[in-house]
Amino acid sequence: MKQFAELFAELDGSTSTLHKVQALKRYFEHAPAEDAAWAVYFLSGGKPKRTVPTRTLREVALQVSGLPDWLFEESYLAVGDLAETIAHVLPTSSTVPSQSQGLAWWMQHRILPLRNLPDEDRIAAVQSCWNELSATERFLFVKLVGGGFRVGVSKLLVTRALAELAVLDAKLVATRMMGFADASNQPTAEQFSALLAVPANSSTGEDPGRLGQPLPFFLAHPLQEEPEELGPLEDWLVEWKYDGIRAQVVKEGGQVWVWSRGEELVSEQFPELQEAFAQWPDGCILDGEILVWQGDAPAGFNALQGRLNRKVVSKKLMADAPVVFLAYDLLRLHGDNMVNLLQRERRTALEKFHASHHEQSTVNAMPRLLLSQSVKAPNWDALKLLREESRGRGVEGFMLKHLASKYGVGRTKADGLWWKWKIDPMTVDCVLVYAQRGHGRRASLYTDYTFAVWETPPASKAQAQEVAQAIANGEKVEDTVARGLPRLVPFAKAYSGLTDEEFKEVDRVIRKHTVDKFGPVRTVVPVLVFELGFEAISRSTRHKSGVAVRFPRMLRIRHDKPLHEADHLAVLEALLPPENAV
């Protein structure tokens, strides 16, 4: 644990990529392989199932520190991180451990067993763990236990360090790393050694990998310039860009695996896909999008959201929100990797695969393997016109894939080019009404905001000012409405889109116009108008406003826009897709 804590301190304290890679290499070289395996797991984003609920961690911290609940909460607000707060308020350790155990020992003997303990024993066990750890180690302990471990290291950096250490191609290491950090995996010394091993097939540089392992996803770049700059349209494969879950389906050893782009194994959330693809030949991997499909079009993302992270997937759920896998690439067939073939060759192979397997991929009389349509247009201008139909089709724009592209690793441009050519977001002018402090780097600033629109447009500037005054005076909303004043209806939360400078500026305004002093959420007098952008909007019974927006973010502060000119609910409702409108 001590060695890992030192690595963490070094990574956390550095802003230099080179320095971080050096530190990682040193650690991987000297740490015992079983510890290094867990380090790779955590550093590349692995989260074991939660072993201790957050409320228990807080409870023990309160007991040990003797602080009242409210003071712990105020401390947490200042720190913006539970693990760090706990590490800072606990008294200095009383017992010195006889010898420091490694990360793997801590995981296997102390942390993972916590999950199956009864509540009281768990509290005692956590206390005794804290007694044996230094402040930094306690911080790490809470992070590892609570599943919130993050340090300024990307999976890419871990891959690079491992590749440099073992003198291997980084792509090979990236391929081996796929699925390593999945929650269900318990990393072992053997797994770590396998990451660094000499490739099984020295001529191709490939090796078989673990059963059911996906390949690294190839990612697209947002298209900033005009599409004409990309050259002739004939060189590009054009596809609609869907708003689903990017996934790879692996069929191997008689089993079907479904992996999300976050390298989470999600097979069990989609039993119909497992069933539908059971007849595929062994040794194939397809890349595509999981979508809820209704009629001949995708349902909104809301429908898909209802299918995620369910413990039990009921028949009713599968009937109400049936999913399909819309394939757009073929990465492996009969055990042969195709990633180094060109896009046009892979597309032909994919079309062939679809033709021979889509019929057997049917569940409940519904085809589950769809082929991403290749969109044809005579020229860029015609394509631009087609793009205007995106919203009506329930898609986000186009994907443009160069026909001579290989299937690369991650967001690189070395092997080929994929662009996402998205439509502009919908926008609305709204008012900041609540603010909350951010986390981590932004813990001292109010950076998480709730936005509202007018329920009905104010009659005048003066009337809008009257509402602001009433909020400043702490008057109840019902009372202001009873006085005939319009109401502000919250509809979205956003915390991104502003520069650090703008956040500081907004933070100053919020501190000046905060109505109350305690608690995490502060009511703010409506003085700031923002232009908010979002990708989609749908009806929602869960939100008071009756609408839910997707990916809301701040586009700019509208200093030029007075309060009474902020938009009202009818403007939002007019943006709803036809089937959603009332």
């Binding site: 230099s16 105020e74 991180d81 760090e84 981590g440 780097r441």
Partner: protein
């Protein structure tokens, strides 16, 4: 009877008819210490602790100033005034006021841990204690200066071995001198930004022992920019002054805010050293407890938190709204 009340001009003593660290221009001001948010220009008459004369004059220039040695007293309009070390920076004091049997102490900014550059904080018994609360949360607990100096020395030595300068940002008055007084000057030469150097002189003149320092205009041999410790105010970060160190220097911040990862990341430097001139949470508790005061008034920092905590401890606690905390280590200025 209230010996101190809050007025738009600043904290005011009604029977004595004078102010404590006022933020608007007044006739008579007693100054707890020479940081800009406590010592402003434009008052007709100043009083400060004798060891603080040099630094106050360095900052405010030609003012009408009386001084009082620590522990001695003077009487003004029937109010007995004495000044006692606050341990914050050179010359910082707590102001003890006694009138008709009531004793109030206004402490300005203070720390209770020892400091090589100023007299140690002295607990003063009183009925009412006026306290700061800059680091008034239990997450703030400082380690000893010896540990922090060892960290700074190790960082400096490692950089020097790699041929890199070590640029350490710290407030130019107080923090800079405290760093100087404790680092191991045998590691290499020390360069100080001119903003710090003026105060260095005032400290040396007051008898505080500091190692030899150079301003950049005194540097003849440019090779020292490869192994020196350079001390500069936070404002120098990213400024033209930094150009002389080339691209391969290491930088760090010395501040209580460095206690938190968020603070370190926001400051955008390689290292953060947790060194503060304010009391940490246990220090605040110890100082308040030692006064024996029944009433405590909180002026700046985590005011609401401290008031509520003290009330729950059975004390009569409330807040004064002030304009302190703008310089140095106020909540709005986490970088300093």
């Amino acid at each position: 009877m209230d010996l101190v009340v809050s007025r738009p001009e600043g904290l005011y003593c009604p029977p004595g008819d004078f102010y404590i660290d006022p933020w608007r221009k007044v006739d008579r001001a007693i100054i707890t210490h020479a940081h800009a948010d406590h010592a402003r220009v434009g008052h007709n008459h100043y009083l400060c602790a004798a060891p603080g004369e040099g630094v106050l004059r360095t900052r405010l220039g030609n003012i009408s100033l009386d001084t009082l040695p620590y522990g001695t007293s003077t009487v003004h309009n029937g109010v007995k005034i004495s000044l006692h070390p606050a341990g914050h920076v050179l010359g910082s004091c707590q102001i003890r006021l006694e009138y008709q049997g009531h004793v109030w102490v206004a402490s300005g900014d203070y720390k209770v841990a020892p400091d090589l550059t100023c007299d140690a904080f002295e607990p003063v018994k009183c009925h009412t204690f006026i306290t700061e609360s800059t680091f008034g949360l239990p997450i703030y607990r400082w380690r000893s200066d010896a540990e922090i100096y060892a960290e700074i020395n190790a960082w400096w030595a490692a950089n020097a071995a790699l041929g890199k300068a070590s640029v350490l940002y710290g407030y130019s008055f107080g923090k800079a001198q405290r760093i100087l007084a404790g680092v191991d000057s045998s590691i290499g030469p020390i360069v100080c930004h001119s903003a710090c150097e003026g105060l260095n002189k005032a400290y040396r003149d007051a008898g505080v022992k500091l190692p030899e320092t150079l301003t950049v205009s005194e540097v003849l041999d440019k090779s020292i920019y490869k192994n020196c410790l350079a001390i500069a105010p936070p404002a120098a970060q990213g400024a033209a002054w930094m150009k002389r160190f080339g691209n391969s220097y290491s930088d760090a911040f010395a501040s209580g805010w460095m206690q938190l990862r968020g603070g370190r990341r926001r400051s955008n430097v390689d290292r953060g050293f947790v060194m503060s001139d304010h009391a940490d949470w246990p220090g605040l508790m110890r100082a308040i407890g030692a006064t024996g005061a029944e009433q405590v008034i909180v002026t700046h920092g985590y005011v609401q938190v401290m008031v509520r905590w003290l009330q729950e401890q059975g004390l009569n606690a409330r807040a004064f709204v002030t304009e302190y905390g703008g310089e140095g280590e106020g909540e709005q200025e986490p970088a300093a």
